[in-house]
């Protein structure tokens, strides 16, 4: 594939659950090294789209290309390139933070020495006592930190984060986004879904999705200028009203 191929290319993607159409022919691209915010209210189709990109959900029609490879044909190869963090942080509640790291590192094929180093790296970010606590007993901010850490263990090129900041306090959110910037600097591509509109300012581009359709897409400043709006919130409300509210 040519170097110019987008990291993620979504083409006319549809997902039906019985008669209900959750995602309606959406298309967008994410360039390598870009942070794209996937904005929309609950039930807009963000998680469904992300799950189709990861291959966790079967595509009804359309296609998803990861680095130019169709995810229906090259899923095994694509799995090695992507990292995914789900809404509930997807950690094992009864395992300690350290055990979670060792487990996810272990199934990602990390050698024992690398696993030890990973735990030590996490130990630099959180107190040693926290590492030994069960995940169910640690605050959501720490849980989020551990979840992102384990998602990054296999060193994925493309990172898909589904509502990573839901349920965490503003300070943890700020720290989280600074970490996201750190990842971008390391050349990672990020698609981050959120319903917190103020997080749009952290993104290179945003895609607003509503009722399974893309209602606006572009760089946040550019969109505000184009639509003559003062804030993302205004822009968001306007876009949703334009496409009909439920």
């Amino acid at each position: 594939m040519s170097a110019a191929a987008p990291a993620i290319a979504v083409r006319d993607l549809c997902k039906n659950f019985g008669h209900f159409q959750a995602v309606k022919r959406i298309s967008f691209e994410v360039a390598p090294g870009e942070i794209v915010g996937f904005l929309g209210p609950n039930g807009a189709g963000k998680t469904t789209t992300i799950k189709m990109i990861t291959g966790l959900l079967k595509i009804t029609s359309g296609a998803v290309l990861i680095n130019g490879l169709d995810n229906r044909e090259h899923l095994a190869a694509i799995k090695k390139k992507i990292g995914y963090m789900s809404q509930k942080f997807s950690l094992y509640h009864l395992l300690t933070a350290q055990e979670n790291i060792e487990f996810f590192g272990g199934i990602s094929g990390l050698a024992p020495r690398e696993l030890k180093a990973s735990v030590a790296r996490m130990g630099e970010q959180v107190a040693a006592a926290v590492l030994r606590q069960k995940i169910q007993d640690v605050p959501p901010g720490i849980r989020q930190k551990v979840a992102l850490f384990v998602c990054l263990l296999p060193e994925p090129e493309i990172i898909l984060l589904d509502e990573p900041t839901s349920g965490v306090d503003p300070e943890a959110r700020r720290l989280f986004w600074s970490e996201i910037y750190g990842l971008k600097k390391r050349g990672k591509t990020l698609l981050v879904s959120t319903h917190n509109l103020d997080e749009a300012e952290y993104c290179d581009r945003i895609i607003i999705i509503h009722n399974g359709e893309i209602v606006a897409a572009g760089a946040p400043d550019e969109l505000l200028r184009q639509k003559g709006k003062a804030s993302i919130e205004e822009l968001f409300k306007d876009a949703i009203q334009e496409h009909g509210q439920d």
Partner: protein, 367 residues
């Protein structure tokens, strides 16, 4: 190596739940002991009533034998004919023995009295067994009498009970309880495992990881198999040491049969886990299946008693084969040459269940 991490994670999750630990390793001991005493077809202290209207010695001698028998507990003795029905109807006694003099055509009193045995048929099993014992007492009395008089008995069957000479029902039930224990623990543990992953959304992370479908599948089944085998050993120790059931066979055969059985039952439990949306649903399916498996296994009643149409279900019930094999190994000390057909059938069922379950798992993750 990835499988090692999967198994380790499963074992940590299981062992970190203290209540579950109790259920896995302490409750089997309690279960085996309770089941061993409760699930018994032996009859002891059956409450009986006696109405003796005979004036002869024979009736009194037979009644004395009934009084001395540990099988019966004589609750009522009367010489009035009107006393026979009410205690039976009220449930005070399960059987009523009525003796009256037998007369010939000339109304002369004969040597042996007439005996009527009225049984409470609601508990049909106990009634059948108790009726057999009564007949035995009467028959023995007559035979002894004839021998004393020097009259030979033209023919008499003398049964010899091999493998379980005292006909203790615990000897039959005990090995079955071990098989049941292996089923209950593994079925409940495994049927909940994948659903739990769905509920806490960790299944998505597993599916997106480099783990293969087979590694996830085996990683889920192996820990339950290990725990099941530990529980089986606990169960074996209890039935052998507590109940004194002799283990006459080869332990290796027992483990071989148990491993084949585990493949079948774990595949079935994983199928439940794939098809269920919540832990509650999985538990209900597991409980329902367990009841069917148990009732169709020959554990309580012989498989031969099952009507032909339902026999088909019994024929594909893996527990049926394990119970049969365990009893063969345990009580008869039989080797593989005696039960290879059952083992082969069990293997076939295991293969079919693993294939169906794995296919469903693959179909589920590619939705």
């Amino acid at each position: 190596m990835k499988l090692f991490f999967m198994v380790k994670k499963e074992l940590i999750e299981i062992t970190r739940q203290k209540e579950l630990l109790f259920l896995m390793f302490v409750s089997p001991v309690i279960q085996v002991i309770i089941l061993g005493y409760v699930i018994s077809t032996d009859i002891r202290h059956v409450p009986v009533g006696i109405v003796n209207l005979s004036r002869g010695q024979a009736a009194e001698r037979i009644i004395e034998r009934v009084r001395r028998s540990p099988l019966f507990d004589v609750r009522l003795e009367s010489r009035h004919s009107q006393d026979y029905l009410y205690p039976l109807k009220k449930g005070e006694v399960k059987a009523m023995l009525i003796f009256r003099d037998a007369l010939d055509r000339k109304r002369t009193v004969l040597k042996y009295p007439e005996v009527q045995v009225l049984m409470d048929g609601i508990d049909s099993n106990t009634s059948m067994i108790a009726a057999g014992y009564f007949n035995g007492i009467i028959k023995n009395y007559i035979l002894n009498d004839m021998e004393k008089l020097g009259r030979g008995v033209p023919m008499a069957g003398r049964p010899v009970f091999r493998f379980n000479p005292q006909l203790r029902s615990i000897n039959t039930m005990g090995p079955g309880i071990v098989a049941f224990l292996l089923t209950i623990i593994t079925m409940f543990l495994t049927s909940a495992s994948l659903v739990r992953e769905k509920e806490q959304q960790t299944l998505d992370t597993l599916l997106i990881s480099p783990l293969t479908t087979l590694e996830i599948y085996v990683g889920k089944a192996l820990p339950a198999a290990l725990i099941g085998l530990v529980d089986m050993v606990i169960g074996l120790l209890v039935v052998v040491l507590w109940f004194g059931i002799p283990f006459r066979g080869n332990l290796l055969y027992l483990f071989l049969a148990s491993l084949v059985y585990l493949a079948a039952i774990l595949a079935y439990a994983l199928l439940i886990s794939v098809l269920s949306a919540t832990t509650q649903q999985a538990m209900f399916f597991a409980w329902f299946s367990l009841m069917i498996f148990l009732l169709m296994s020959g554990f309580f009643t012989p498989v031969e008693n099952i009507p032909p149409l339902l026999r088909l279900l019994a024929d594909i019930n893996p527990l049926r084969y394990l119970i049969k094999i365990i009893r063969e190994i345990f009580l008869k000390g039989n080797g593989i040459s005696y039960f290879w057909k059952d083992l082969l059938a069990l293997g076939g069922i295991a293969l079919a269940l693993v294939s169906i379950s794995l296919l469903n798992f693959k179909r589920f993750i590619s939705k």
